[in-house]
C-alpha cells in the first residue's frame, strides 16, 4: 500500500512524502503551480559554482533538458529551460542562446575553456559548474521540484 502524507511547508508549497519510497520530491504548489526554484537555489542543491551571469541568481529555473547531444537539444529543448550537459565547447553557449535557454549547467566537474565563458558573458547566459554526474545532477534537481521541459518525445 502506498501512503502519501502531505505536509504543508509554506503557504503555497506542499511537500508530498511517499510512504514506501525513501526519496521524496517537492511537488509544485497546488495553488499557483510554481515550484520556485531560483538559480541561487540550484547552485546550493548542486554544490555548484557560477562562472558567468552572477546577476541572474534570482532567476526562476523550473524546467530543464539534459543531454550531451546538441543535435537533440536543438530538436527537443523548450525555451526558458536550463541546459544540463557535459560538453564545454562554445557551441553549447550558442545552442543555448539560439533556443532561449535560461542557463547552462556543466556537469562531471568539467571546466569550460575561456572562450566558452567569454561567449556566455557576451550573450548574457549564466554558466554553472557542478561535480555531480549528469544523472545525479538531474535527479537532485527533480527531487527539488524541477521538471523536464518535455516529459516524453511526442508530447507538445
Amino acid at each position: 500500500m502506498i501512503v502519501v502524507n502531505t505536509l504543508k511547508i509554506t503557504n503555497h508549497q506542499t511537500l508530498a512524502i511517499s510512504g514506501f519510497n525513501p526519496f521524496y520530491r517537492i511537488k509544485s504548489c497546488s495553488i499557483c503551480g510554481k515550484t520556485e526554484v531560483k538559480l541561487s537555489k540550484l547552485i546550493d542543491i548542486l554544490d555548484a559554482t557560477i562562472m558567468s551571469g552572477e546577476e541572474h541568481l534570482d532567476m526562476d529555473v523550473n524546467t530543464a533538458f539534459s543531454a550531451d547531444l546538441m543535435s537533440d537539444v536543438l530538436a527537443f529543448a523548450k525555451p526558458k529551460s536550463i541546459l544540463l550537459t557535459g560538453l564545454t565547447n562554445p557551441q553549447v553557449v550558442r545552442t543555448a542562446s539560439i533556443l532561449d535557454a535560461s542557463a547552462i549547467v556543466i556537469v562531471r566537474g568539467k571546466i569550460p575553456p575561456a572562450e566558452t565563458v567569454e561567449l556566455a558573458k557576451e550573450l548574457n547566459i549564466p554558466i554553472v559548474l557542478t561535480k555531480y554526474i549528469l544523472f545525479e545532477t538531474s535527479g537532485r534537481l527533480f527531487m527539488n521540484g524541477m521538471v523536464g521541459c518535455v516529459e516524453k518525445i511526442g508530447d507538445s
Binding site: 543535435s71 536543438l74 530538436a75 525555451p79 545552442t95 539560439i98
Partner: protein, 143 residues
C-alpha cells in the same frame, strides 16, 4: 504582388570551421527580434539557420546562406558545394547521419538536423545533386 523586403543578406559559410557555427543564426535572430516578430518565429528561424550552418560546416566545402525577410514571411536559402545527399528520404529520418567523429565530438551529427528544419518551417524543400551540392529552401510564415 511581390512583398517589400524588410531585410536581405547573404552570408558565406566556410566548410569545416566550427568556430563560427551559430554566428549567422544569432545575428538574424537579433534582427528578427528588433523587428518585433514573436519569440516563436525568432526561435524557429534561428534553429533553421543554425541547422543549415551546421550542415554546411559539417559536410560541405563552402556555402552561402541567404536570408530574406518580408512582413509576413521569412525565406532562408542555404546552398552549398559539397557531396550532396544521395538519399533524401533516408536523410530526413531521425537518427540517420553520415557525420564523422569530429562532428560528433562537438555534440552534433546525430541525424536530427533536416527533420528539425522541417519541424521549424512552414515549407521546406531539399534540392540535391550528388558530388555537386545541396540547396535547402526554407519558408516561415509570420501570422
Amino acid at each position: 504582388m511581390v512583398p517589400t523586403l524588410k531585410y536581405k543578406n547573404t552570408f558565406p559559410v566556410e566548410g569545416g570551421n566550427f568556430d563560427n557555427a551559430g554566428v549567422i543564426s544569432l545575428q538574424i535572430k537579433n534582427i528578427i527580434r528588433d523587428m518585433g516578430f514573436p519569440d516563436d518565429i525568432q526561435r524557429r528561424a534561428a534553429i533553421a539557420i543554425y541547422e543549415s550552418e551546421l550542415n554546411i560546416i559539417s559536410y560541405a566545402r563552402a556555402g552561402n546562406i541567404n536570408v530574406r525577410i518580408a512582413p509576413h514571411l521569412i525565406c532562408i536559402d542555404a546552398a552549398d558545394e559539397g557531396p550532396g545527399i544521395e538519399d533524401i528520404d533516408r536523410a530526413m529520418k531521425d537518427g540517420y547521419s553520415t557525420a564523422n567523429d569530429r562532428i560528433r565530438e562537438m555534440g552534433f551529427g546525430a541525424g536530427m538536423g533536416l527533420s528539425n528544419i522541417k519541424k521549424c518551417s512552414d515549407k521546406f524543400e531539399i534540392i540535391s545533386e550528388t558530388n555537386k551540392g545541396t540547396h535547402l529552401k526554407i519558408l516561415i510564415d509570420i501570422n
